[in-house]
Symmetry: C2
Subunit: 207 residues, 2 copies
Amino acid sequence: MSTAAAGGTRARLLDAARELIEQDGYSAASVLQVAERAGVAAGTLYRHFESKEELFVEVFRDVCTGEERAMLAAGDALQAAGSRSAIACLEEVLATFARRALRNPRLAWALLAEPVDPLVDAERLAYRMRYTAYVAQSLRRAIADREIPGLDVEFTAAAVVGGCGAALVGPLAPSSGTPAPDAVVASLRAFVRRAVGAGLGGLTDAR
Amino acid sequence: MSTAAAGGTRARLLDAARELIEQDGYSAASVLQVAERAGVAAGTLYRHFESKEELFVEVFRDVCTGEERAMLAAGDALQAAGSRSAIACLEEVLATFARRALRNPRLAWALLAEPVDPLVDAERLAYRMRYTAYVAQSLRRAIADREIPGLDVEFTAAAVVGGCGAALVGPLAPSSGTPAPDAVVASLRAFVRRAVGAGLGGLTDAR
DNA sequence: GTACGCTGTGAATCACGATTCACACACCCG
DNA sequence: CGGGTGTGTGAATCGTGATTCACAGCGTAC
């Protein structure tokens, strides 16, 4: 398994798949299209992946992992900058999520809401659960620190994640006319604060 | 077009389609299955509907219209009972949405999140937009009445609708062990209040 | 009674994209 | 140099459901 030569084509296929999704969504990313864009024949794809689904599972995994890293990094950066507030941190993480989603709407839509094949859907669900778990953890910390009142952590986490996703792809699906990313991010921050029950006092530590 | 005789079979097909969705979701509702359950041959379906998609568009429309009616009725009832609070009203509407979704999880999942064919998806989107518009309207009223602070109405409406949907189908998809409908509804009410910025004071009028 | 139109039938057909496979080509190893 | 292995090709094949259509049955109009 000489990962050198094989890796080249493999990587090219992964890139082609991601690019197709970014441009026209999952539905436009057929095996033929991916192969063509990668500059190989359809059969070649099957030298490197068990099936179309496996290829896209890997694409999703890669992209979601990257997003996760970026989000967590934003949270950590804020913490490193001296913030002790779990909610401020969470807000920063979700704002990062939003900024990145707004920068790549089509990809965000594919990642969050577009119909995809079962295995890929499972991968998406797994990541959504990770995000939700992270939010839940933040909420628990915030409650312990008396930043926010007690609440149903699991429900709220799911609702916040779902709400942010829906509010971001909503403005995307109808492809409304460039609703000013900064304004959207600001609205999302405000929504998150309210949804988790953070009074204005919560800001003190954050900014 | 003798709607009498034709209506019988037509209605039977619509019922069969809905029942199949309720039992096993949209993916299990093939033309053959629907026809069999309705007690007719596959070809008969095409005597009454242009295509599979048209059939299911009608199913979705019927069900969603029914849900909408039930929700609005709950809101109106509260208002008729003397409540003057737009938020209490909205809360009641969404709680009704939740109660009904929890009673018929599979259907709710199909309506909210399951992959469906494009035309059906468009119908789903249209209804989601109606619900969102209703929420937005309620928020505007509440803001005008000083029930809640000013906020990005469009964003918040989308986020609340999306959040409620996600939090409800989340507990359903993995078919978690009966998480006590009443508790879920209570959590949802609390979430909605917080998300729209309704302080505890908002309750005064409601209950 | 017969012509006509509406329903119903279900096996055959079609569409469409994923998947396979017999056939190269290139490179390395002995 | 003769195998052997990894990689690439792309036309043919497959699978899955939706859709069609030639052939009834049946009621109504005339």
